[in-house]
């Protein structure tokens, strides 16, 4: 593992300290709620970034994994009476199981083919959630009646998960855990192979690496975190619906990741902090807000394809003008290698 840069360490320490201090600064329930949702999206988009940004695999079923996590955990508690924490663990593993089932065949495909295959899987999951009425209660969704069991602490105290601050710290813990694991992976030898797969899959294959195993590993890890986020979402929001996990949701995650800056650790953090909180803070008509949101998105992609982080990192020079046009980004190339889809 490479030694981290001093600036990165300092930056993370400052952000983490600010995040820990945050509930002390405000006791406003609404602001805390927004902060929790932002942290949830940090988990979702950082993990999506692993497969999408670092490995450059255009898999669009992250929201489906998120939904599998949420529904599995909720159904295990409500139908089988399992303790929440156990159900959460099972839900995460179950999500990972599906990632392996879909990942092994689908990741042999590249570019548009992978996107469409994972899109079809995501749609099948949504159709299943919407129509398997006897289990998922269909489009009416599930009302979550259970609560998180309190965690006992030494000296007779406990974390009861009754206040929003408790949930905030749980969400913060999940976000930190996710970022730490993703950092550990991308800075390791495995991470360098993953990035190399994005840059030139054939070359990595020729160098003797089993590309499929690396891709499936990244896909699997990324799905585990989506399951983790899903298990948290259900009891926090106390209501889950199939439409929370549809194609619009994955598009939103992709947007957050990319506008923030793909293949960077800070990108999903910045993207979540701004784009997730934006709708809550901008109290305008929903229709106008979506129009503005679409416009921000189009302009970002066309003019700042490396997102906010890319903008901060380097001043724009003359050679940066062509970024986003053909061949300028390594992300562009994957789609060119059309039907030769078997790795």
């Amino acid at each position: 593992m490479k030694p981290p840069r001093a600036a990165a360490v300092l930056g993370s320490a400052v952000v983490l300290a600010a995040a820990i201090m945050f509930p002390l600064l405000t006791s406003n329930e609404y602001i805390l709620h927004v902060a929790i949702v932002v942290l949830l999206y940090v988990v979702l988009t950082s993990s999506l970034n692993l497969i999408l940004g670092y490995v450059g695999q255009f898999a669009v079923c992250h929201a489906a994994f998120y939904g599998i996590g949420a529904y599995t955990s909720a159904l295990l508690v409500l139908k089988l009476g399992m303790p929440f924490w156990v159900s959460w663990l099972v839900a995460i593993l179950f999500t990972g199981f599906w990632a392996l089932v879909i990942g092994y065949p689908a990741l042999r495909l590249r570019g548009a083919y992978l996107a469409i295959c994972t899109f079809a899987f995501a749609e099948l999951v949504r159709l299943c959630l919407e129509n398997w009425d006897s289990v998922t209660n269909g489009t009416d969704g599930i009302i979550i009646t259970y609560r998180l069991e309190a965690i006992p602490l030494p000296f007779g105290r406990q974390i009861a998960f009754e206040t929003r601050t408790d949930f905030y710290f749980l969400a913060l813990g999940l976000a930190v855990l996710t970022c730490a694991i993703i950092v550990a992976i991308v800075r390791s030898r495995i991470g360098r192979v993953l990035v190399a797969i994005r840059e030139d899959e054939i070359l990595v294959l020729a160098a003797g690496y089993n590309v499929m195993h690396y891709k499936v590993f990244a896909f699997f890890v990324s799905a585990l975190f989506a399951g983790l986020a899903g298990g948290f979402y259900a009891p926090y929001m106390t209501f889950i619906l199939p439409s929370n996990y549809d194609f619009d949701e994955v598009i939103f995650m992709i947007v957050v990741t990319i506008v923030g800056g793909r293949a960077t650790i800070a990108g999903p953090l910045i993207g979540s902090a701004f784009l997730v909180s934006l709708p809550y803070l901008l109290d305008v008509n929903a229709t106008l807000r979506m129009i503005a949101y679409g416009a921000i998105l189009v302009v970002t992609i066309l003019y700042f394809p490396e997102g906010v982080v890319g903008l901060l990192r380097r001043p724009r020079g003359p050679d940066r003008r062509r970024a986003g046009t053909e061949g300028a980004s390594p992300f562009a190339r994957a789609s060119n290698s059309a039907p030769g889809t078997r790795a």
């Binding site: 996107a115 469409i116 295959c117």
Partner: protein, 289 residues
């Protein structure tokens, strides 16, 4: 029972015709630009609304309104290509995100202008057609004839005209196409305009048979994606064949097996085709058209 199956078949062929139109536009843009334009559903919806507005508010006839609507979305498509998609040509991921932004803009502008109530395009074709004992609305027959003519016309256009040859060349190899003097930018603009016009035709026909709402684009788009993959990305004949096949399969499956599983059939078929025959059921693309 045979009568029921026959009417299901007819329904399937008719809806399949609309799938074909949606898929043709998608497959053309993919063949030439290597991108999936997901904003396609929103363009389809706008064409339906423009047709509706011209008939209801401006009092134009059906054919005139349809022609104006197609021309408008074709021009709109050329403008969109020039302003946005040109910068993400051959870049699947960025193009997808650009189309998501465009969907948000186009759908919500439509909501702001027309609201979310479903409307129906009044059409002059209200009679009933009988073939033997099977009967169906005249509007459906018109939809089938229109989609067949458009699909056939497009295939002919690609095959025999100079522009059609240029489009096929650009799909085969953009660099060589440019080297032999084909203006790639113009070809792409034409392709975008044509594909938006096809989406427009599909939207207007869809609006005649079903209803027009700002969110109507999602379902035809999804079907279009399924058809494009089944037929092979970039394949025109494949899209035509797979469109009709999917329409019939869904209609039969929905009517005879289970209406809930209707959408699942197509998606499951799509995954299987991708895994075993990623170049589509015909196994050829625009590159070898």
């Amino acid at each position: 029972m045979p009568l029921y199956v026959a009417s299901l078949l007819v329904d399937g062929v008719i809806i399949g015709g609309i799938y074909v139109l949606v898929a043709l536009g998608l497959t053309l843009t993919f063949g030439v630009m290597q991108i999936m334009n997901f904003a396609y559903g929103a363009i389809l919806m706008w064409a339906a609304f423009i047709t509706y507005a011209l008939i209801v508010y401006a009092g134009f006839g059906f054919s005139a309104s349809l022609a104006i609507a197609l021309l408008t979305v074709a021009l709109g498509g050329v403008v969109l290509e020039h302003l946005a998609f040109r910068r993400v040509r051959y870049d699947l991921l960025n193009a997808l995100i650009v189309s998501m932004g465009l969907i948000a803009i186009l759908e919500n502008v439509a909501v702001a202008v027309w609201g979310t109530d479903p409307r129906s395009i009044p059409s002059p074709f209200s009679g009933i057609v009988r073939i033997g004992r099977v009967q169906f609305g005249q509007d459906r027959l018109v939809a089938l004839v229109a989609s067949t003519l458009l699909a056939g016309g497009l295939a002919l256009f690609l095959k025999v005209t100079r522009t059609g040859r240029a489009i096929r060349a650009a799909a085969q190899n953009p660099d060589v196409a440019e080297a032999v003097g084909i203006n790639l930018d113009r070809v792409v603009a034409v392709v975008f305009g044509v594909s938006c016009a096809l989406a427009g035709a599909a939207g207007a026909l869809y609006g005649v048979i079903f209803t027009v709402t700002p969110l109507m684009g999602g379902v035809p788009l999804m079907k279009g994606v399924v058809v494009v993959v089944l037929g092979g990305l970039g394949s025109v004949e494949g899209a035509i064949l797979a469109g009709f096949l999917l329409g019939v399969a869904e209609s039969l499956g929905g009517g005879l097996v289970s209406p809930i599983l209707k959408d699942a059939f197509g998606l499951a078929a799509l995954i299987l085709v991708l895994l075993w025959r990623p170049s589509g059921i015909l196994g050829w693309t625009l590159k070898r058209f």
